[in-house]
Amino acid sequence: MNWGSASEFFAMGGKALYVWGSYGVTALVVAAEIVFLRRRGRTLRSGDTQSRRTE
């Protein structure tokens, strides 16, 4: 185990900005891609049923 405590873990030996700046932005864009993908799938399906109803 590398870390004595949680605060030590988050401090990353003084490199917190670089480590969490990398992991944070990566997590953010991955989450964004999943959200956009889900939303597009939902509008596609709901949009289709609407167009069918108006026909």
Partner: protein
């Protein structure tokens, strides 16, 4: 004997992709949990770089995926040009945004690793510059195909751009050998043992597979959307909607 050509039709590929995509997603999550545990709790502090080296556990997988996805995308694009199959162009379309995202992650994490390690966020060395060009190739492909209304023409134009851009991938890969770059040479190669501690290497490889499975899951989900969009007036899509 599996009838492979059967799956080149959007109609049969749509439900198949829907069935397997969640599995790739689930495998990716499991691998990411294991990979992150190794990266943060098992891999020791680097004696030269300290903790900032932990960025490589996402930097290297993202960078590999950025190049790999481009090759797969160009392969599908070429197949679409040669065989004129509808699904091929859709696959290329589905891969581009994820490829662009991986390239962005590679560049971003590279900057955040470079700052504490080299003392700079960015240099115009061959590796970094060619990776930036890769990002522009992805964005160019997406912009070009989105700008042309006729789907067939958009696919052909996109495929041409993707194929011309292939030349950039070996340039990225070999840039650290061909030029005197600030970016280090590869620590991992097929022909020799990796020049890093075994546990660090293991963490990195697990993360590579996590990224890989994620890309497959996302691309399969996106290709389903593209199929629905493009084939919305086809008989089978209408039947599918009525069945729901």
């Amino acid at each position: 004997m599996i009838h492979w050509f059967k799956y080149s039709s959007p109609q049969t590929f749509y439900p198949l992709a829907g069935k397997v995509a969640p599995w790739f997603g689930a495998i990716s999550v499991v691998l990411a949990v294991v990979g992150l545990y190794i990266s943060f709790f098992m891999a020791p502090t680097d004696f030269q770089q300290g903790e900032s080296y932990r960025v490589i556990f996402i930097h290297v997988p993202a960078a590999w995926m950025s190049m790999f996805i481009y090759m797969v995308m160009a392969g599908w694009a070429a197949m679409g040009l040669v065989f004129n199959t509808r699904l091929s162009a859709m696959m290329a379309q589905a891969l581009a945004p994820t490829g662009a995202m991986m390239t962005f992650i590679a560049l971003w994490t590279g900057a955040f690793w470079g700052r504490p390690t080299w003392g700079t966020w960015w240099v115009w060395d061959a590796r970094l510059t060619s990776e930036l060009i890769l990002l522009f190739l992805y964005l160019g492909f997406m912009a070009l195909t989105a700008a042309i209304d006729d789907v067939r023409r958009a696919d052909r134009a996109g495929a041409m751009l993707a194929l011309v851009g292939v030349v950039n991938v070996p340039i990225i890969y070999f840039s650290v050998k061909w030029w005197n770059t600030l970016h280090q040479g590869s620590s991992v190669s097929i022909t020799r043992a990796p020049s890093m501690a075994a546990i660090m290497f293991t963490g990195m490889i697990v993360m590579v597979f996590a990224f890989w499975m994620y890309c497959i899951a996302v691309a399969l989900t996106r290709v389903r959307h593209i199929i629905l969009e493009r084939e919305q007036h086809a008989q089978w899509v209408q039947e599918l909607k009525e069945a729901e």
